[in-house]
């Protein structure tokens, strides 16, 4: 019994550490990268993969119940919204005359 609980704790802790790592990289990338697509990529990574790892770790640590089911719903909601938000940011970039690698296009009309 105790061995199983230890294994569960270790798996959960590892997943949560991985999630925290991705969240920290997201924050650092948000401040370090130089143009909007790169920053968007970093933020999107933290919002999807980091949140997934964190919440799966929590789910494993706490066991399945109504509250952890809500965590799954939150993950699904974030997976619905965050990529769409990234897509809209990229769309605005291109509409405002930027190339996908973040440079301003110099169209002469």
């Amino acid at each position: 019994m105790t061995v199983l609980e230890w294994i569960r704790f270790l798996i959960g802790a590892a997943l949560m550490l991985g999630g925290s790592f991705f969240m920290i990289t997201a924050v650092i990338g948000n401040f370090r990268f130089r143009n909007a697509p790169c920053r968007m990529h970093a933020a999107g990574l933290g919002d999807t993969l980091g949140i997934l790892l964190l919440f799966v770790g929590l789910l494993i640590l706490c066991g399945l119940s109504v509250f952890t089911l809500k965590l799954i719903i939150i993950v699904l909601l974030l997976w619905m919204t965050s990529p769409v938000a990234s897509h809209m940011i990229m769309r605005m970039q291109i509409e405002n005359g930027f190339t996908p690698d973040g440079r301003k296009e110099n169209k002469k009309k």
């Binding site: 605005m92 509409e95 405002n96």
Partner: protein, 85 residues
């Protein structure tokens, strides 16, 4: 008071000062939305989830949308989207 509340309150003060000091309206709105999110977390820790839901929905959501719409109307952000029509 535990450590988390102190941490969040410090963030709150930093956010409030930043909103006052920022010259760019867009950044001010973004920081204000962050302020509302932190405030919602603090309400949750202080055991008033009613206020937390309201703060997150109104402060971080609807107020931000209204400010963005207003800034776009007066032409401070998003310059070219309207010209294409």
């Amino acid at each position: 008071m535990n450590l988390a509340v102190v941490f969040l309150l410090t963030f709150l003060i930093v956010c409030a000062a930043s909103v006052a000091l920022t010259k760019d309206p867009l950044k001010a709105i973004l920081i204000q939305m962050g302020f509302s999110t932190i405030m919602a977390a603090i309400w949750l820790i202080l055991e008033s989830p009613d206020l937390a839901i309201t703060e997150a929905a109104v402060g971080a959501g609807v107020t931000g949308i209204l400010f963005f719409v207003t800034l776009r109307r007066i032409g401070l952000i998003g310059g070219k989207a309207g010209k294409k029509k």
